[in-house]
């Protein structure tokens, strides 16, 4: 079996936002404009949270990219009345847009606030309308959406491997965010393969999971220096 996961090294992240842009481009995520953004209606599947540690002049800024944590025990899943979000066999927290009726219950119950809602019919201003990804559906007004771990790339990778008659190689599949990260802070792979890069990262003593005590069992691990981590835990 496969269990997709991600490791994000926040010591490497410099907050450049390339992942956010790549994600928008890959997944046909609409931009909403300043007035809507001010109302908190941005659509990004991935955001970079910024926190300042210490006092000036010894201050240090830390960036934390937050995306859907693809929880094994996802609070968003059971509350959906129509199975629009459910757990797929590869550990993904799948989102079926065409089933969604838009109760937004999942979004309320997501402790990471990573689910976004199409408040209006999406608009892709020129020239963005010319570069929509044909592998990803454009969502209509009234449905929820969120990070899929670039499920279209996962499928492509699996198909390529199958065509070649081999297993998927570690690192072969890369979500847009991981691919575009200049300092290579994001690693993607299979948790069920003990030798994969993500599994090694998850075993490291630098690894922690976001809001791990809620019992959501996220598939994303964050890596940071042990000293920094202790400091940050007292903030959280």
């Amino acid at each position: 079996m496969t269990s997709w996961g991600m490791a994000i090294d926040t010591d490497r992240c410099d907050g450049c936002n390339a992942c956010v842009v790549a994600c928008n481009a890959e997944n046909n995520i609409p931009t909403v404009g300043a007035p809507e953004a001010r109302k908190g209606r941005t659509m990004h599947w991935l955001r970079i949270e910024r926190s300042v540690e210490g006092e000036f002049p010894d201050a240090k800024v830390r960036f934390r990219p937050v995306l859907c944590q693809q929880c094994d025990h996802a609070p968003c899943e059971p509350v959906c009345p129509v199975y629009a979000t459910y757990h797929n066999p590869e550990g993904l927290n799948a989102m079926v847009y065409s089933r969604c009726v838009g109760t937004r219950y999942c979004a309320n119950n997501c402790p990471y606030s990573v689910r976004t809602f199409n408040w209006f019919e999406p608009v892709f201003v020129e020239p963005l309308n010319e570069q929509l990804n044909p592998d990803v559906s454009v969502r209509t007004a009234g449905v929820m959406e969120k990070c899929t771990f670039c499920v279209q790339r996962i499928q492509e990778g699996k198909q390529n491997a199958k065509a070649d008659g081999r297993a998927v190689r570690d690192g072969e599949i890369q979500p847009a965010c991981a691919q575009s990260c200049p300092p290579k802070a994001i690693t993607f792979g299979d948790f069920d393969n003990p030798d994969s890069a993500v599994s090694r990262a998850a075993r490291s003593d630098r690894a922690e999971r976001l809001l791990g005590d809620l019992g959501t069992q996220p598939s994303v691990v964050y890596l940071s220096g042990p000293a920094d981590r202790a400091e940050r835990q007292s903030d959280d």
Binding site: E36, K39, G40, R41, T42, R47, E49, V66, D72, H73, A74, P75, C76, E77, P78, V79, C80, P81, V82, Y83, T85, Y86, H87, R99, C100, V101, G102, T103, R104, Y105, A107, N108, N109, P111, Y112, S113, T116, F117, N118, W119, F120, E121, T140, A141, G142, V143, M144, L210, L211, L214, T216, Q217
Partner: protein, 625 residues
């Protein structure tokens, strides 16, 4: 007794004289009331606002409302909970009073049940308004379809839908069943006029004749429904609270929410009921029916709910304040500052301070002060739901999104429109159907009368009413005591009373006395409950196996959700089977027909008996001629 003898308004007694078929209680249905009609049209126009705003929202998208990330739920859920809360007025209060046999309930049951039904109708629209794609709401309904869609019975929203469907069905039937005799009353009263209205009332009254068999069936049915509807009502608002309490959201995840919501619901429900009663009393000049004692008693119940609600509110906020859980502390801090604090203070003032300053005193439990306090409580309970929904969502666990929420005019328009819709439906009901249960009031009077010593009356024999056989006679009786006399003389003469009709159940008269076996309503009800429970159990458990999508690490067939759906299914089966049995009992006696002239005398409170004897001589002896 004639119409001129009994005037409702003139009596000063607390329990008015209803011997003339309710007089004003029915009369207002037959008369054109310009002011009432104006009010109805006005309410209808306000209701239109709701649909206009909703239409705009459907056309342009949910973004026209003020909800955002992270405050994904706003006015619509608040108002949904509000109306479902209001709906706990009627049916629950009327059922509790019926079950406990509180005699003073009689004038209030119907208008309370109507509050429930219409509040549910209005509240039931809100989850649809709230949906991102309301046009595919049927994805949530369990029916076999080509889309391979099936609802997730683990979702509290599906429990909600199941519970509200059960409650709406139950309370609609619980309102309709006791309406039958009064519909027949109106039918008989306007029999001479004929026309469309008579046809409509004839159809609606399902052939109600007021025979002992029908009364027996109705009595059994109402008793069973009253018992069944109480746990359903409690489950409905508990499940509404679980929409919140099942989540991970700080401030929502609380075990107190179930009872807290139920108490709040009953509290706001009584408030709305008191407003409706005060308006009815003024609008239809019903001060002798909706009398002071009624307001006083409901006022005491209202006071008890104030104290209960205050206690729950204090407990809820005390625990979050004290425990120091970080996420909950943030919610608490947000509540204790700025606009939220104002809302909190306003809520405490109108829901606790003012009621406690007014309700303990006798003057405070008169209609006007009660109605004013109730207006405050209705507003206050809406604010309470704001306090529950908005601050919690504004403070998500990861503080990246600092939430804030203010409604747009679309949401405000829909809120105002919903109040208009409720008023419109209520006013319409008031004009088309008897808003006060005439037969129940008369039943109370007959019970009182029955307790007094019987007087002697001479019996009046009507013409054999179109029956050519001279051995059958219709007898018009004024009181139950007369019936006793008739029974004795008929027995002496070896004659039988084959038909009996009355506009209220007669004490001591059973269906068996007219030689018909009563419909076993209770047996029907139990079988219905069994079938309903089994069906719901299979629906929730087996269908999940056929649609095995894992969610949240739960079992595919999870025990608690199956139990909840089974509970509601049991209640729904019981309610439907009970009503089926009552309709059976009613339809079985629909052929007992007498002339319109005699039937209209029934409407004035008299009892019609049909006596059958083997010979005209025996008949004469039996009826005392």
């Amino acid at each position: 007794m004639t119409d001129s003898q009994a005037s409702l308004v003139s009596t000063s007694k607390a329990d008015a004289d209803f011997s003339d078929a309710g007089g004003p209680l029915i009369d207002h249905l037959l008369r054109w009331r310009p002011r009432l009609a104006t009010a109805t049209v006005f309410a209808g126009l306000v209701a239109l606002l709701m649909f206009v705003c909703w239409g705009i929202q459907i056309k342009y998208g949910l973004g026209v409302a003020g909800i955002n990330r992270p405050v994904f739920w706003g006015f619509y859920i608040i108002t949904f909970v509000f109306w479902i809360g209001i709906s706990h007025a009627g049916t629950l209060i009327s059922a509790i009073l019926r079950v406990t046999g509180a005699g003073w309930r009689r004038p209030v049951t119907r208008c309370a049940e109507a509050v429930t039904v219409f509040a549910l109708c209005v509240g039931g629209i809100f989850p649809l308004i709230h949906l991102g794609r309301p046009w595919v709401f049927f994805y949530m309904i369990p029916y076999p379809n080509d889309r391979m869609l099936w609802p997730n019975f683990r979702s509290p929203l599906v429990w909600d839908m199941v519970a509200i469907t059960t409650y709406l069905t139950g309370s609609l039937l619980y309102l309709s069943l006791p309406l039958l005799p009064d519909l027949a009353l109106v039918r008989d009263r306007i029999a001479s006029q004929g026309g469309l209205r008579h046809k409509v009332f004839s159809a609606l009254s399902l052939g109600w004749r007021g025979t002992p068999g029908q009364w027996h069936g109705l009595d059994q049915g109402i008793k069973i429904l009253a018992v069944a509807i109480i746990p359903v009502a409690i489950s409905v608002h508990t499940i509404v609270s679980w929409d919140f309490a099942m989540t991970q959201v700080p401030g929502w995840k609380s075990t107190i929410f179930g009872p807290y919501f139920v108490v709040g619901a009953i509290y706001s429900g009584i408030a709305m009921l008191l407003i409706a009663m005060a308006l009815l009393r003024r609008g239809l000049q019903l001060s002798t029916v909706l009398h002071d004692r009624l307001f006083n008693n409901l006022g005491l119940l209202f006071l008890a709910m104030t104290l209960l609600w205050g206690y729950f509110t204090f407990s809820e906020h005390l625990t979050t304040w004290y425990a120091g859980d970080l996420a909950e502390q943030i919610v608490h801090h947000r509540l204790m500052q700025g606009g939220s604090l104002m809302v909190l203070i306003a809520m405490v003032v109108v829901n606790v301070v003012i009621p406690l300053a007014v309700l303990p005193f006798r003057w405070g439990r008169r209609p006007l002060p009660l109605a004013l306090v109730s207006c405050g409580v209705v507003v206050g309970m809406w604010l309470e739901r704001w306090i529950i929904v908005v601050p919690s969502l504004s403070a998500p666990r990861l503080t990246f999104f600092e939430g804030s929420y203010s409604p747009t005019w679309i949401e405000i328009g829909i809120l105002i429109g919903s109040a208009g819709l409720f008023a419109f439906l209520y006013l319409l009901f008031m004009q088309l159907l008897p808003i006060v249960s005439v037969w129940e009031i008369r039943e109370g009077l007959i019970e009182d009368e029955h307790a007094q010593a019987a007087e002697d009356h001479s019996l009046e024999v009507a013409e054999p009413s179109g029956v050519p056989d001279a051995s059958v006679a219709s007898v018009v009786l004024a009181t139950v005591a007369d019936l006793r006399t008739l029974q004795v003389s008929a027995a002496d003469a070896d004659a039988k009373i084959v038909g009996l009709r009355s506009s209220a159940p007669l004490p001591g008269v059973t269906a068996a006395q007219t030689h018909r076996r009563p419909v076993p309503v209770l047996r029907f009800a139990l079988i219905g409950a069994l079938l309903g429970g089994l069906g719901a159990f299979l629906l929730a458990s087996r269908s999940a196996l056929a649609y095995p999508l894992p969610t949240g690490g739960m079992e595919i067939v999870a025990g608690p959700p199956v139990a909840i759906v089974t509970y509601e299914g049991t209640a729904l089966g019981l309610i439907l089977a009970t009503v089926f049995a009552v309709v059976l009992a009613v339809r079985r006696d629909k052929d007992v027909v007498v002339s319109d002239e005699l039937a209209s005398r029934l409407a004035t409170g008299e009892i019609l008996a049909t006596v059958e004897a083997e010979s005209p001589e025996q008949l004469t002896m039996a009826v005392g001629r």
